[in-house]
Symmetry: C2
Subunit: 327 residues, 2 copies
């Protein structure tokens, strides 16, 4: 299986985290996908034992290298175009989230997907985080009964970010970029889809980061009537022990389950107890490849990739307009 | 100072928690305020060393006993009428929250208040909880810098509740009843007022409790642009160690402060640390009385009482209508 890689602006390192678990995958070519320096992409490939060709132009690479799968991690505002070009060539897509920064681009990807034999998933790697992976399985198995209320939190350190984070056109917004994980946990834990959303956001006090929203809140109702919220911010102090403070709280008819600080807490009829999560039996990239190869079904689907992207963009629209948005 | 008490449906016990700190206050008369059994009210008074007259009719009591202050804790849907009658008689009011179940009734109370020499505050006792009281002071003193994002959580055990909880007309709704504490923390911590709200709620799976909403979410923007949310539910399992799981998370430009499990956690430039809260230097009822007597200013004002009640009712309206409501 030939893998090409475009860009390294986000989380393309997921590929190398589990590529040894799918030994028939070979990184045959890479392209920065823009004016970015390709050395990080080349170095990661070399460290993993690959010696890919370097292409300046990513379209030429897709044509000449003719990969089975492409990892798309170029400029955020080019994800959609790159996805569409790959799907048109029937190349499976493993793309940084969100896969599109506008609803029009998302529609265009879905059209290309409908006419393609290729699959597409986005890098929702935090589904595979030990605590969230195990907690979601517990919820799926009925640990809290029927889910009524779910809250997800993403809190990041702001740090110093590249210039493209400062413009909405090149960054996409904090709800899609940071919030996508929170929204994905809601979708994953509830196994439901969204019906409506309202959202608020603020770019004030963002330490000179242009359009970048420093904080946001989203409030959803799912199709089945679950109330869901996401709290998203870049306000985590630099002194904090980890980059992100990732949490989920799920309250149902039979219990309350929480993930925080990498641990799971459950209160149900049997009382309150904590779980130290086990190492998951799957990883993001290899999970996708194994399914492509006809093996075990992956836990991320094309439909969920589209649903998540649409949710991010509609939540951003709700925040931009101050109006409730229906799905 | 003569104190009369009407009803004991809610938190009138706050009176007896600190009445010994204001020794010139005497409970001279009580009335159940409805068909309720007055024995709890009488027993509490007796235990505190008072021997109040019992009146069947609360209006007659206000006229005959002519108190300086009245504690109002009758049927929720009678709070407004009782407040108005007391204010018209220039009797200071210490009322269970929310003081009104409709915006029309709230307006009528405010009109009566405008023409009265009497004061009114509602029983926002959780401001005086050690952890929240100390945490709010820390935030006021700049512990997190400029507040950008605040989340408050109220999670209660449902238990078995009297019939009046099952009807909107007599209960008022879960956002006003349970959520009032969460909204009050937001007002108290931020020292701000609300600009807009959207909210969602659900009464499904409420274990046969009629109209009672089992869960709700509210999302606010304050006048100064702070993003605020409240998560409210009756989903706390019966096996949990406490009745309520009360929390606040405040994220600002210089740090993140949280209250949970009765403790305070702060992450700022100096790192992460916890605080075991000290016993507050004030309690709800005596704080009000001391201010009435010309002593130390209380931490709850008439204006905040009106603001909180209006916020509860507008948030409920947002949830009922599915529309954003502006303040």
């Amino acid at each position: 299986m030939k893998l090409c890689m475009i860009g390294s602006r986000g989380h393309c390192a997921y590929v190398f985290e589990s590529i040894t678990e799918v030994p028939d995958v070979t990184v045959t070519a890479v392209s920065p996908g823009c004016e970015d320096d390709p050395s990080r992409l080349l170095a990661m490939s070399e460290r993993a034992g690959f010696h890919p060709e370097l292409h300046g132009d990513w379209r030429t690479m897709l044509d000449k290298a003719a990969p089975d799968v492409v990892c798309i991690d170029g400029p955020f505002d080019k994800h959609a175009e790159m996805c569409i070009e790959a799907l048109r060539r029937n190349i499976h897509v493993f793309c940084e989230k969100p896969i599109a920064l506008t609803l029009e681009d998302l529609d265009r990807i879905q059209q290309a997907h409908a006419g393609s034999s290729a699959r597409i998933v986005s890098m929702v790697g935090l589904r595979y985080d030990p605590a969230f992976y195990q907690a979601a399985r517990m919820v799926h198995e009925g640990a809290v009964g029927k889910v009524k209320l779910i809250r997800a939190q993403k809190s990041y350190k702001l740090g110093t970010r590249p210039d493209f984070y400062r413009k909405r056109e090149t960054y996409g917004g904090t709800i899609p970029w940071v919030g996508s994980h929170a929204l994905d946990w809601i979708l994953y834990f509830t196994q439901d889809t969204f019906r409506s959303v309202t959202a608020v956001q603020t770019a004030e006090d963002n330490q000179g980061n242009g359009d970048l929203e420093i904080a946001a809140l989203c409030q959803f109702v799912t199709r089945s009537g679950i109330l869901a919220s996401a709290s998203i911010d870049y306000l985590r102090p630099v002194s904090a022990s980890t980059h992100g403070d990732d949490r989920v709280r799920v309250a149902g008819t039979d219990g309350v389950l929480e993930v925080a600080n990498g641990k799971i807490t459950l209160i149900d009829a049997g009382g309150e107890r904590s779980f130290t999560p086990e190492t998951p039996d799957r990883k993001l990239f290899s999970d996708f490849i194994l399914e492509l190869e006809g093996g075990r079904p992956a836990i991320v689907s094309d439909a969920e990739t589209f649903e998540l992207t649409r949710a991010c963009l509609l939540a951003r629209e709700a925040a931009d307009t101050g109006k409730q948005v229906l799905f």
